[in-house]
């Protein structure tokens, strides 16, 4: 391949429809005779429903039907990830138990959205309330049964002995709060039945997961369910799994005999699509005087719901980021009357890196070693847990390039030693890493006699640029300009592809598109000599189109090499010493993430990840009332995501990395690595500015005053 499209800043294929407002998201789908559903949620954290009175709602204007546990058929459980596609195993509306505040208890369907909302307010529920566990601190710690197939606890070497002998020792506890994804498009589903066949328009990261989950719940054959999701208004993990409102839309449509649209409200988003569990992380480091790590013990406590288990591997980052002979990782869970948590951008690493990379900064300060030098000293030449060679690892270049671009050598060591007017200035840094993931995927590429090329795959574009990058891959494989290629995605009628999460879409689907394009190309060339255009060959043979198929699956390299993306973050903050306000004033992120298919879409995705990390550091926290077990201020004022005014110019740079082992395209995936370590870099900068070590996120003015 002579790449002319891949690696260049091609404009987004879908940008035009998005800037003109014509891109059709799930919330925009309109069908003939469409009815609207509104969900009614519980208002106690635990107990039994003693009465659910829908009579007034049923009599209200425009109402077509009400579903509650009283009239909902029995539904099958769907296993949660990775055994199955569900976010919550327990199906909705099955019995009179309430397990958390904000659990779906009823669905009201009416002819208009207004009528449905009005009637939903008339549903009268009486509870027999029971004693609830509403915080992580209040419950008993239990060992989880596993973390995505891995053991929750692991030990290498003898960490306890190494800690006892360490020349420098650090023990600290770090906490992170409940965080919510809050994509701008809320969870939404439109369900339409045609006899026994069901079509779902759904805002999802996984069309085939939705198909499988809904078919399983309703006891249908999977080929009777089609799921369509051409545009997704952001997701960040909240739409990676299938949540109960999706099946409620299907049930509601069947109940009233009309297509039904169900859109969650922003308030309902706090309890309906999972969240990032709060963490309490106890970290012990042992090191030699020069900062060489000799022991890491990383013990993490997280929460799950009272009825099932979800746990992210927050401690795992401590096993693989640095060379250290003695490492113990431990994960524990507390069952809380809250919804089941789920994956959120870099699940595990995003929070685990806050503890590890803050602790490294503390170690640097204690041992008097520069934070970058400390990390270089502990660079892992091979993957330390499994002992495999890296497929590629640009971490050292990331430090070096980042330090240069940021001007790190001008940093003065002492906290509170840099100022700008009356503001304290601080510089901090942290490492980033995230595993390379991929799954089996399929694609088709059609070459038409009029010269157009169509790429199809049942993958999803969450805003990440899949439409654009897959067009680039096909264009290069066929040697045609990108203008001739279009892509159709987000439909279970297309060749199957995995969920768009774990930064795996480009690495999974890209190679499938590549091989489908080569297959199509060879079919055309079998008809004629090279030198003619595809269109000429097909026209001469009177063929309307040829279609190539491509399948890709993770290669054997995965067992021979350790594969990760790496990065380094450098942050500058200014702190107002009187108000305790922290402003991020400069940021540089440098990444070694394999081949970058499109620097324009990639750059924006990295900045988005860095700003997600900035939210973690400074503003984002879901507060739950301990007594009520209820989210306080469930809206975008109560949950503050960063705005334009909070964010400085952000410098993003990619190391030119050629990894022959990860996959045919050399792609590692970029969506998650950008957020890993950001919160620590900012917290470290706050320490440098103020001398205050903040170990609890977010770092608000209250914490600094």
């Amino acid at each position: 391949m002579r790449p002319t499209a891949v690696g260049t800043p091609v404009d987004r294929a879908d940008a035009r429809s998005k800037v003109t407002g014509t891109a059709c998201y799930t919330v925009d789908v309109v069908l003939p005779d469409l009815a609207h559903a509104v969900v009614v949620q519980s208002t106690v954290p635990t107990g039994r429903i003693v009465r659910i009175d829908a009579a007034a709602a049923e009599r209200a204007p425009g109402v077509l039907g009400v579903l509650s546990h009283a009239n909902t058929p029995s539904l099958a459980e769907v296993p949660t990830f990775p055994q199955g596609p569900a976010g919550q195993r327990r199906p909705p509306l099955q019995d009179d138990t309430v397990n958390f505040d904000g659990e779906h208890l009823a669905v009201v369907v009416a002819d208009t959205l207004h009528h449905a909302a009005q009637a939903a307010a008339l549903i009268d529920v009486a509870y027999d309330r029971e004693e609830a566990v509403t915080t992580l601190e209040a419950g008993d710690e239990l060992p989880p049964s596993g973390i995505f197939g891995e053991a929750p606890d692991s030990v290498r070497g003898d960490p306890e002995a190494a800690l006892a002998r360490a020349e420098v020792r650090l023990d600290a506890t770090y906490t992170t709060p409940t965080e919510h994804h809050h994509p701008l498009e809320p969870g939404a589903t439109v369900a339409a039945w045609d006899g026994g066949r069901l079509t779902l328009y759904d805002s999802t990261q996984w069309v085939s997961g939705v198909r499988d989950a809904v078919a399983m719940t309703l006891g249908m054959a999977t080929d009777q369910v089609r799921v369509v999701s051409p545009f997704v208004g952001g997701a960040f993990g909240s739409k990676a799994m299938v949540w109960p409102h999706v099946v409620l839309a299907a049930l509601a449509a069947r109940h009233v005999g009309r297509p039904v649209k169900l859109v969650l409200s922003r308030a309902q988003m706090f309890t309906s699509l999972g969240y990032r569990s709060p963490t309490v992380q106890r970290l012990s480091l042992g090191a030699r005087q020069d900062g060489t790590l000799t022991a890491i013990v990383h013990a993490v406590t997280q929460q799950t719901s009272v009825f099932e288990e979800f746990v992210a591997g927050a401690g795992y980052i401590s096993r693989s980021l640095y060379a250290c002979p003695n490492v113990a990782v431990r994960h524990r869970l507390v069952r809380v009357n809250a919804p089941t948590p789920t994956v959120m951008r870099a699940p595990g690493e995003a929070v685990g890196s806050f503890a590890l990379e803050s602790a490294l900064d503390e170690l640097a300060a204690q041992s008097g070693v520069d934070p970058v030098a400390l990390r270089l000293r502990n660079f892992a030449e091979d993957e330390p847990q499994e002992g495999l060679a890296w497929s590629s690892n640009a971490l050292r270049e990331c430090y070096q390039v980042g330090a240069e671009r940021f001007g790190w050598e001008r940093r003065t060591t002492e906290p509170r030693s840099m100022r700008e007017g009356r503001h304290l200035v601080g510089w901090g840094m942290a490492s980033a890493t995230y595993g390379v993931h991929s799954e089996a995927a399929a694609a088709r590429v059609r070459i038409c006699a009029d010269g157009r090329i169509l790429v199809t795959s049942g993958t999803q574009d969450l805003g990440t640029g899949t439409y654009t990058t897959m067009v680039q891959v096909a264009a290069d494989a066929l040697g045609v300009p990108v203008e001739r290629v279009t892509a159709a995605l987000g439909d279970t009628d297309l060749p199957p592809a995995p969920h768009s999460g774990g930064s795996q879409t480009a690495a999974s689907v890209g190679p499938a598109v590549w091989s489908a394009a080569l297959d199509a190309c060879s079919k055309v060339l079998a008809l004629a000599e090279q030198g003619d255009s595809y269109a000429e060959i097909l026209t001469r043979h009177g063929i309307e189109f040829v279609e190539g198929r491509g399948d890709a699956r993770p290669g054997a390299s995965a067992s021979r090499f350790a594969m990760r993306s790496f990065g380094a973050h450098f942050a500058e903050v200014q702190v107002d010493p009187e108000l305790g306000e922290v402003r991020l004033t400069r940021f540089c992120g440098v990444f070694g993430a394999g081949r970058i298919l499109n620097p324009k879409t990639a750059r924006s995705q990295m900045i988005g990840g860095i700003v997600g990390g900035t939210g973690m550091a400074l503003t984002e926290r879901t507060v739950t009332d301990r007594r009520l077990g209820r989210v306080v201020s469930p809206n975008l004022s109560g949950y503050a995501v960063p705005t334009h005014a909070d964010i400085p110019w952000i410098d993003v740079c990619f190391i030119d990395e050629h990894d022959p082992h990860v996959n045919a395209l050399g792609v590692k995936g970029i969506g998650e690595v950008a957020i890993v370590g950001v919160a620590a870099a900012i917290a470290n900068a706050v320490h440098h500015a103020t001398g205050r070590r903040i170990r609890d996120l977010p770092i608000t003015p209250q914490t600094l005053l």
């Binding site: 800043p9 404009d11 987004r12 879908d14 940008a15 035009r16 429809s17 998005k18 800037v19 003109t20 407002g21 014509t22 891109a23 998201y25 919330v27 925009d28 309109v30 009599r59 209200a60 204007p61 425009g62 109402v63 959205l113 207004h114 009005q118 809050h182 994509p183 701008l184 498009e185 545009f231 208004g233 952001g234 997701a235 859109v263 922003r266 969450l462 805003g463 990440t464 879409t601 750059r603 924006s604 995705q605 990295m606 900045i607 988005g608 990840g609 860095i610 997600g612 809206n635 975008l636 004022s637 995501v641 960063p642 705005t643 334009h644 005014a645 964010i647 110019w649 952000i650 993003v652």
Partner: protein
């Protein structure tokens, strides 16, 4: 079913002027927001609902040239006004300079915030042709974006500002 149920609110039929066209809003409850009427009744889904309480800016439209969150405005209040939505900004198939700049700069990801931002940026640059960096940030801080981290949006706005500035200077 509706009959004389106490909740069968009084409804009225009225006309709105949207993107230069007269539109009938038939038998509508007068409490409906402009956003709801645009999306649910007039088939204009460009303005998005991401919070329904004035916190995200996704529903931004112009009412008589004034930028509003259409989720917080009653449609019936806009009866004598001219409403312009993202669908009505461009002339036919052409893009406005702001739309083109969002495309060129890579300021679009999932795109759910984009219509509201495009409207808000038109408002800013029409009111203030030469805003400084801080003025830009402040003016569009009411428009939340969860994907882009704002970097490329800012670049897009500054590109339009500079380009308009060059055009107006001889």
């Amino acid at each position: 079913m509706t009959g004389n149920h106490p909740l069968a609110a009084e409804s009225e039929t009225y006309e709105l002027s949207v993107n230069g066209r007269r539109e009938q809003v038939k038998a509508a409850w007068l409490g409906e927001s402009l956003l709801a009427v645009l999306r649910e009744r007039l088939g204009l889904p460009g303005a998005k609902n991401a919070c329904e309480q004035g916190e995200c800016g996704s529903c931004s439209v112009f009412v008589d040239g004034v930028l509003v969150c259409s989720c917080c405005v009653l449609a019936a209040d806009a009866v004598d006004a001219e409403v312009t939505t993202v669908e009505g900004l461009a002339d036919g198939d052409a893009l406005t300079d702001v739309q083109q700049s969002f495309l060129d700069a890579g300021a679009v990801q999932c795109g759910f915030c984009t219509p509201g931002l495009v409207v808000a940026v038109h408002d800013l640059l029409d009111r203030n042709p030469d805003p400084g960096d801080l003025e830009v940030r402040e003016a569009i801080s009411g428009n939340l974006c969860r994907c882009t981290g704002y970097g490329r949006i800012l670049a897009a706005v500054e590109a339009v500002r500079d380009q308009r500035g060059r055009r107006s200077r001889p």
